[in-house]
Symmetry: C2
Subunit: 319 residues, 2 copies
């Protein structure tokens, strides 16, 4: 569940008087999501999402995310649009947490991925990358290649003999990625977390992208590598090359990949698999007893990493 900070009717009604969006008629906590507290808020003026930013979000980075969503929405991308309060502020405080109101997007995320979803996703991702051009702020990707060695060390796997083999294998992989990580590819705003639950569909069309709280300035095609992992494997662990081909083809309907970008896909896919493997492993080894959110399985991403380690040419992804 994803309501860590309770909000009362009086707190919320009072908070809403700071906005020009009507008065509160209904609100409920949203059960989905793991990072922040989200509420569906209905007012006499419409439907909105209220987010209270919890401790995993660095408050100093919130202006980047808020301004990015505003920029992308102004470029016609369908994403949550932060609503300015009467005083112009888009970030305010509620119950001791930074808080924002954003517009509500219609759409449902796809639990079962069809190849056509991947094509639509690819196109939407390229539109995001194009809409992000000209955005004036930068945010480093603090979960990219330079973060992986310290992240691996922080997992404290050496004290447990059963983890020694895994630890040594991951250490070799980190070294390989440090030595081979591409540095000269086109960069810009990437979403960096475009998992299925962050992509809304109405029918076969993408109706909106949400949850920009990992967005950063990084190699554009890395977003595609993340989605090769998040969208193109079946639940039995097998790689579905048709979905990968559709994803990349959809992307290229809006933005063509250069030869260098295509050839970087295998190493970027390895890096992306390692990134989610390591953060999940960290959460697995460090999640508190009785936590509200069940940690995700890191081994799913180890299996994906092993697949990409066997890839020698981007044709393995249908290119």
């Amino acid at each position: 569940m994803a309501v860590y900070t309770p909000v009362t009717d009086e707190d919320l009604a009072s908070f809403l008087t700071g906005y020009d969006i009507g008065s509160l008629t209904s609100f409920s906590g949203i059960a989905e999501g793991v990072e922040n507290s989200n509420f569906l808020v209905r007012t006499t003026g419409g439907t909105y999402i209220l987010t209270l930013y919890e401790k995993r979000v660095n408050p100093d980075e919130l202006p980047f995310f808020i301004n990015l969503m505003t920029h992308l929405a102004s470029r016609g991308l369908s994403c949550p649009q932060p609503v300015a309060a009467r005083d112009g502020a888009m970030l305010r405080e509620l119950n001791g947490r930074p808080a924002a109101i954003v517009t509500f997007l219609e759409g449902v995320w796809r639990r079962r991925i069809h190849p056509a979803c991947c094509h639509a996703l690819g196109a939407a991702m390229a539109e995001l990358h194009l809409a992000g051009l000209g955005f004036g702020m930068r945010r480093e990707n603090n979960l990219s290649v330079s973060a992986w060695r310290p992240l691996l060390e922080s997992c404290d796997m050496r004290s447990e003999p059963i983890y020694h083999g895994l630890y040594n294998g991951l250490k070799v992989e980190v070294g390989y990625l440090e030595d081979n990580w591409p540095v000269d590819l086109p960069t810009g705003v990437i979403h960096a977390d475009l998992f299925p639950d962050n992509v809304f569909f109405l029918g076969d069309h993408v109706s909106g992208l949400i949850d920009f709280y990992f967005a950063c300035t990084d190699t554009l095609v890395y977003d595609l590598a993340i989605c090769l992992n998040a969208w193109c494997f079946e639940t039995d662990g097998s790689f579905n090359v048709t979905k990968a081909q559709q994803l990349i083809a959809g992307y290229q309907t809006r933005r063509a990949l250069s030869v260098e970008e295509r050839h970087a896909l295998p190493v970027l896919a390895r890096g992306s698999a390692l990134r989610f493997m390591l953060t999940r492993l960290y959460d697995w080894l460090n999640h508190p007893e009785g936590a509200l959110v069940k940690p995700k399985d890191p081994m799913e991403y180890l299996q994906k990493l092993r697949f990409h380690q066997t890839v020698v040419h981007p044709s393995a992804y249908g290119l």
Copy 2:
């Protein structure tokens, strides 16, 4: 949180084809609530609540609840109105659970209770009682006086010496209530769980009553006794007689209490306090490790029981 049974977009879209309410545009799990899985569902036709009934609800009793809400709504009471599928059924199945779609009610529940809320609640409760007249089905209150002795015994307090004093005190109370429980007062449909989170307000008006899954055929004024406990104590445990007076006065704007009903209030309030004490105690002693829902504090209701044990006349409630 309150999503025990996950629902996918495809399951739900397919389920909705059985109804004439448009096609799915959005849905999210509702974090509040403890008994069933609830989803806020938006379609091209409107906004609805989808409920999947979980294991604490007896499927054989669902027709009572569904027909009751339909009856009450037809009498003008603002409550969730079950939506009939194309085949006329109001109860169907989704993901192996009995499931129903009901209309969405605007309103927010009051975290802080003002005396005016109690007056409005009393009036709404009396309207519920009047609207329930003529409802053709019966359901015994399986959490009333005859259930308390077996419930107390099932709590298995005798094995723990620290519970012996509490156990003996409760056993005496059960005996007192069995001997003094009123049997000749007017009966009808009662809600039996009108806690603040089941009463929606817009401004100072009650906009709707929800969660009829404890509703039953019982002494009408017992509903009032339940609300004396649920609405009229402060968080420090003190009894707010103004709120009680407003609750009863609000009730009597719609339905006058007889002398016998008024005089039964103290014993009914004791019984109601014991009922919630015992079910909470049972959940407290029996909740599984890592349960999604934190059990509520039974001692809050022990304190309320002790207050009512000192009451010798209904004037203590502002009458």
